[in-house]
């Protein structure tokens, strides 16, 4: 593990050493959005798909940004924030130099209008789940109020937010789904035909299913940025097609799957342009305690011992993952380096099963999608391993888009999925709090009073170090209770052309880049 980490760090550092040149102005960045064949719409508020977040980083800005280097949210549209002693009231001093693409200055009213829009109950905007933590936001959602009581404009550049619980708003308000829109302009009926925002690039055109084109916003508030004149983002859901386009130098970046990862690493040229990051996703097999054998901790632990996760990662996932040693991943601030993975030990697994009353094993149904990294191929690899300890698997294949609904309803004995486990460790661990419903993210209906207590204490404390320590303890208990088979943490891999610089190792999602920091040197085919 340490070797892997060292290698990743070295690769990342190497990438940044190469990139530590004087940025060049001009040229076109040809980016790809790899998760679908199109973008949903020109309205960043309506979609919480990563695909749409990608273009949102060019066109819009939210109250916070994600600082990839330090792996934490940072203020973006505000210069400073003061937090009350109880942690509920946050007073933001907003930037006075952030201009929308029509040249108008952003003021507190724009943020208030945007957040109020997000709470429009008739529209079901995905970011409502974040804004709902503001005092009075639910009343707006239910149509019982027109204004969010927890948002108060002190002056044009001072905004007070009152939350219903102690929270870190940086984790809530950094995605494109919370992009700040110009209050008055966004209400025009044709606004979304040519939307404007606060981002580093201005919207030029959207050819649905083909590309989104942007040009530099000269009055962007970060001096000298963005560097590129133009940005073209092409949605390309097919990995094989992206591979050809990348090798043909038609695109500047490509997200790689396991097969391509191996091929690119083996290629002397392509291997020079690979950026790897341990993303905040934990691949796991969730076990439903409603299915009798899984109600017993020893059975769940036995499954963790019975599967040779290391072998599967190496052979099937092609080392494009890190072995999981808990729920919180390597890039989490609460990751515990001292934790060790469940060892592959079929004998121990057999012993645990015997102690639990299943000496001859049992049969269970495993719901899985076709995903190559955390779906059917992985399940198929585990079948003979589980069979050796007497556990038979009946596979229930489902479509990727159906999995979320099935799991949220508890309609499974076991499922395999890749779930977010960050960036906020407390939020991630709250998925194991007994108060969190299964339909939210406590998919295995996990319940342990000790974990609840630790998480409640972590939520109540203002001391960051103490909070992380409490979360770490909760993570360790959950790991020992094994509500899931802890498989791996995703290693996201981005291939980039040698002329592209300024990429950020974003652990929340590597495809999400802040385009103002990217630049192309003179060797790019689109340098002019």
């Amino acid at each position: 593990m340490l070797k892997t980490l060292a290698l990743t760090t070295a690769l990342t550092l190497a990438a940044f050493t190469v990139q530590a040149q004087e940025p060049r102005r001009g040229g076109t960045i040809r980016f790809t959005a790899p998760y679908a064949a199109s973008f949903v719409s020109n309205d960043s508020h309506v979609s919480n798909q990563i695909q749409d977040d990608i273009y949102g980083k060019a066109l819009h800005r939210s109250l916070y940004n994600w600082d990839s280097a330090n792996n934490k949210p940072v203020l973006e549209l505000a210069k400073s924030v003061e937090v009350s002693a109880d942690g509920l009231v946050h007073t933001f001093k907003l930037r006075d130099d952030a201009l929308f693409h029509n040249g108008r200055k952003m003021v507190a009213d724009d943020i208030i209008w945007t957040f109020t829009r997000l709470m429009d109950g008739s529209k079901s905007y995905p970011a409502a789940r974040y804004v709902r933590l503001l005092k009075g936001a639910i009343d707006v959602e239910k149509g019982q109020a027109k204004e969010i009581a927890g948002l108060r404009k002190i002056d044009d550049f001072t905004l007070e937010m009152t939350f219903t619980e102690r929270t870190e708003p940086g984790f809530l308000f950094n995605a494109a789904t919370t992009s700040i829109y110009p209050a008055k302009e966004a209400q025009a009926p044709d606004f979304f035909n040519k939307p404007i925002g606060l981002g580093p690039f201005k919207f030029v055109e959207h050819v649905p299913g083909s590309r989104m084109v942007f040009e530099r916003w000269e009055k962007f508030y970060q001096p000298g940025k963005p560097y590129a004149d133009k940005l073209v983002i092409s949605p390309m859901g097919e990995a094989a097609a992206r591979d050809v386009a990348f090798r043909n130098k038609e695109i500047d970046v490509s997200i790689l799957g396991p097969t391509q990862y191996v091929a690119y690493k083996a290629d002397p040229n392509l291997s020079k342009g690979i950026l790897e990051v341990a993303e905040v996703f934990t691949r796991n097999m969730g076990m439903n305690p409603g299915f009798k054998p899984f109600a017993d901790k020893r059975v769940r632990q036995a499954i963790n011992h019975a599967i040779d996760s290391e072998l599967i990662i190496k052979r099937l996932v092609r080392d494009k993952a890190y072995r999981a040693t808990g729920w919180l991943p390597l890039s989490s601030p609460a990751y515990d380096k001292a934790m060790q993975p469940y060892d592959f030990n079929p004998e121990k697994a057999k012993k645990l099963l015997t102690e639990a009353g299943y000496p001859d094993g049992f049969e269970f149904e495993w719901t899985a999608t076709p995903n190559e990294s955390w779906g059917m191929p992985i399940v198929e690899a585990t079948i003979p391993m589980l069979a050796k300890v007497g556990i038979k698997v009946k596979v229930k294949p489902v479509e990727g888009s159906a999995l979320g609904g099935i799991v949220a309803k508890g309609d499974f004995q076991a499922y395999i999925w890749s779930n977010t486990s960050g960036p906020d460790p407390l939020t991630a661990m709250k998925c194991f709090h007994s108060a969190t419903p299964q339909s939210a993210c406590n998919y295995t209906t996990y319940k342990n009073p000790a974990v609840d207590k630790l998480l409640d204490e972590a939520g109540a404390t203002a001391d960051t170090a103490k909070r992380l320590d409490l979360v770490k303890q909760a993570n360790a208990i959950v790991y020992a209770d094994a509500p899931v088979w802890f498989f791996n943490y995703n290693k996201a891999v981005l291939a980039y052309q040698p002329w592209l610089h300024g990429l950020q190792p974003n652990a929340t999602e590597l495809a999400l880049q802040y385009f103002e920091d990217l630049w192309v040197d003179a060797s790019s085919p689109a340098a002019k």
Binding site: P126, R129, P208, S210, A245, E250, V398, G400, W417, S418
Partner: protein, 311 residues
């Protein structure tokens, strides 16, 4: 002829309604709904309140028969509904995609006709000869190669190795961008057209009226043009009409592969996100295209062959 066309168009209405009902029922019974797909990437934990709210907003919490009644009522007034994903009228999404799809389908069809018909014709002139053998190889390969694989091979060869064409994208209607997806889409119909043309021409060439035409002293060119080609064209045109459906279906794969902004790629994304109004509209549109093309084919057949009368 016009009353016939009108009658055929009227017949299309129940077909479209039946297709709409079928698609509606299918998407009502398969697992997954729009709200739950919003968390399918595993990034966002499912917000139960949001799921409930979305289901209410889109009417998904109503019984199936009520939803279908409302949908059918809207459809009769040509209202295709509102997209779950974009919260915009479905017609907006469709209108942006129709022209690129038509461009691609027509280019694929032209490619198939331009190469398939002459190939079949030449093969029929000397059955068992070299051209016939080659056309058989082309036909078998064209029909058996998966379009996805063929598209990738075309990309690899003509974009990456030779650098003749771009490997993906729309390129503002620049025909260079159209070539590879159109060829990938057109190869299967080309193969079938070649075989159908060969069979049709062979059949007609042995007909009595062709022998009579030759006996009357008509030149071989005239016999081929006025008697063989015209009579074979009816069969070829009918195949062509049916193949249009396969081209529209194949476009679903090819458009996604080549990042071509047509109905096919919209359909793929809409299915995976369970944006049912858009899925229904896309399928209805594809069916409508198919019906219209086949009406046009029937009319053309009647124009070519005076023996065909529609009443």
């Amino acid at each position: 002829m016009l009353p016939y066309v009108f009658k055929r168009l009227l017949q299309a209405v129940p077909i479209l309604l039946a297709v709409a009902a079928l698609v509606f029922v299918m998407f009502s019974v398969i697992p997954g709904d729009f709200a739950s797909t919003q968390s399918s990437d595993g990034r966002s934990a499912i917000d139960a309140e949001a799921v409930a709210r979305m289901n209410t907003q889109f009417g998904l919490d109503e019984p199936v028969h009520v939803r279908f009644g409302k949908y059918a009522g809207k459809l009769l007034t040509l209202d295709l509904g509102t997209s779950f994903r974009t919260r915009q009228p479905v017609i907006n999404s469709l209108s942006e995609r129709i022209w690129p799809s038509l461009q691609l389908s027509m280019a694929a069809m032209l490619f198939a006709i331009a190469f398939g018909v002459p190939l079949g014709f030449l093969a029929a002139l000397k059955p068992g000869g070299w051209v016939d053998m080659q056309s058989m190889i082309v036909a078998v390969s064209g029909l058996s190669l998966p379009q996805f694989w063929l598209g990738l091979m075309l990309m690899y060869t003509f974009a990456l190795l030779l650098g003749w064409f771009p490997s993906f994208g729309y390129g503002d209607g620049n025909p260079r961008y159209l070539v590879l997806p159109a060829v990938a889409l057109g190869v299967a119909p080309l193969a079938l057209l070649a075989r159908t043309t060969r069979a049709a021409v062979l059949e007609v060439m042995n007909a009595d009226f062709v022998r009579t035409a030759r006996a009357k002293g008509n030149s071989e060119v005239r016999v081929m043009r006025w008697h063989v080609a015209r009579n074979a064209a009816v069969i070829v045109l009918t195949t062509l009409g049916l193949q249009f459906g396969s081209i529209m279906g194949g476009a679903v794969v090819i458009e996604k592969l080549f990042a071509w902004p047509g109905i096919g790629s919209l359909l793929v994304d809409s299915v995976s996100l369970r944006d049912i109004p858009v899925v229904q509209a896309c399928i209805l549109l594809l069916v409508l295209f198919f019906l219209i093309v086949n009406i046009v084919v029937d009319v053309l057949c009647a124009l070519i062959d005076p023996r065909i009368k529609y009443s």
